[in-house]
Amino acid sequence: MNTSLALPVRRGSLRRSLDKYVAIARTNLQNRLAYAWDAAGQGIMMTLFIFIFAQLWRATFQAQGAVEIAGLTLNQTIWYFVWAEMLQLGKIRHVFTVSREVKDGSLAYTLGRPYNYLLYQFASGLGDSLVRMGMVLVAGSVVAWWQAGPLISFRPETLPLLLLVTALAFVLDFCVLSVIALLSFFFEDVHAFMFIYHKIVFVLGGLLIPVDFLPDWLQAIARALPFSGVVYGPSKLFVAWDTGQFAGIVALQLSWIAVIALGLVVLYRHGMRQVSINGG
């Protein structure tokens, strides 16, 4: 049985191999769209979340009597949270699926199938994530526009690079979540690990408060850790593009993706050695 994390070597072209994962993503996208009510419900909830942030930061700017805090206007701060929430709520939710399959042993059945287990999870979750991200972006933009007007500082010509840094944030987050999911080989329940990760992203990742608003000493730590590459980096570039900062964030994301992916391979192989298959 092939338990390697590497892409399976097949006779067909790379394109045929990728087609398989595209088909998985498409199937799950269609499945997700079949439950349109559920997806729409998230859009409605999103309007509420952005609304809370708008109220909190409006009150904060008013209390400070400031037009700008750490280089961001109220308009930019509110729009920052739209992109940040899109990333947070759009992340692939495979942790509990993997955890359940590890615990109940059904993982053993999937290993014989002609796909890489983690790439399958990525492709499978991608369709679902795209729907959620679309919903969040639309709903969040409506509220942000209503609360703060259009994002004046947005530069459309930077969109391709913004999408690149957003995609890297997505992959980085997937890698971290996959590590947490695979901890199920060693822990009965990985809920707490995931909650801790989420909360670290809340503070050091810039989901609740832009990293620029943190004390200087904490900013230095946050900017070096992977969490700021998951939410803060793309969201800050969305509202205040800076080519120098773009290069720094991409370098941070690629470095952490390499490190965490390596850890993921080690963890996966170690975990797979503990899988025993009995009977048929």
Partner: protein, 264 residues
């Protein structure tokens, strides 16, 4: 009365079994509790950083946040430590896994809600107790009001979450929506109520009763406000009635998935 006592005894028995089951994996059990404790601590750090920089927002300072966190984490911890299945209700309905409960001669809803005990939520419970110690309100009157207000808030947490889970009876896959609604309740409640005005304030007192699990209990304890306590008790009663009615109506639409499940 005898029937009620019997059902309470049944629920207590379920909880004992769930606790024994959780304790079977002690390392995991403890890691969950410690993990959730750290989780809350990190979230609390946000507010420390926020008030360190901005001092005061609409009458809220860090002291109010201590009390808010004490109430919410303890209420949330009590709610989902004991009624662990409330958070999974949408999933259980969508997967047709109510069959097991329907076949047994016990009231379905309490059996369902209390047949699983949360693990990580014990960390919330512990955090809430410690956060309360930091509020400095250690006189017997305040402690009594705190305990009563927290228990009522816990009832509202369970009732709201279970009602949101019941949406699966009507929508099919409502797992994500019910989770979002529960998250909304928790998220809104963790912010100073003074931020919200007009219609939103009304929503937070009715459709998403975040004020009833956060601001109102805080008012009860800090102001020794018995009027607010009565309002909180009314809110809990309405929450339970709505949950029971929605579950009853929804159950008529329930279709078994013919899935084979083993409940241990």
């Amino acid at each position: 009365m005898t029937r009620l006592r019997k059902e309470i005894g049944f629920v207590a028995h379920l909880l004992r079994l769930s606790l024994a089951s959780n304790m079977e994996y002690r390392a995991s059990f403890l890691s969950q509790i410690i993990g959730m404790f750290i989780n809350n601590g990190i979230y609390f750090v946000f507010w420390l950083l926020f008030f360190d920089r901005f001092q005061e927002i609409r009458g809220y300072q860090i002291d109010e946040i201590f009390m808010l966190f004490a109430v919410i984490t303890l209420a949330y911890g009590i709610a989902f430590t004991f009624a662990g299945n409330a958070m999974d209700l949408a999933d259980l309905i969508a997967q047709g896994r109510l069959d097991y409960y329907l076949a047994l001669p016990r009231p379905v809803l309490p059996h369902l809600l209390f047949s699983r005990m949360g693990q990580s939520t014990i960390g919330d419970l512990t955090f809430g107790v410690i956060a309360y110690l930091f509020t400095g309100r250690l006189d017997p009157g305040s402690i009594l009001l705190f305990v009563v207000a927290v228990l009522l808030a816990a009832v509202i947490f369970v009732a709201f979450t279970a009602t949101a889970g019941c949406l699966a009876f009507f929508m099919g896959n409502a797992t994500m929506l019910s989770t979002q609604l529960s998250n909304a309740l928790l998220t809104f409640s963790l912010y100073p109520f003074g931020l919200f005005q007009g219609v939103v304030r009304l929503v937070l007192l009715t459709l998403i009763p975040a004020a009833f699990v956060g601001a109102v209990p805080v008012q009860v304890v800090q102001g020794h406000d018995l009027g607010a306590l009565a309002l909180l008790a009314l809110g809990a009663l309405v929450g339970v009635i709505v949950m029971a009615v929605v579950f009853r109506i929804g159950l008529r639409r329930y279709e078994s998935g013919s899935a084979l499940n083993v409940n241990i």
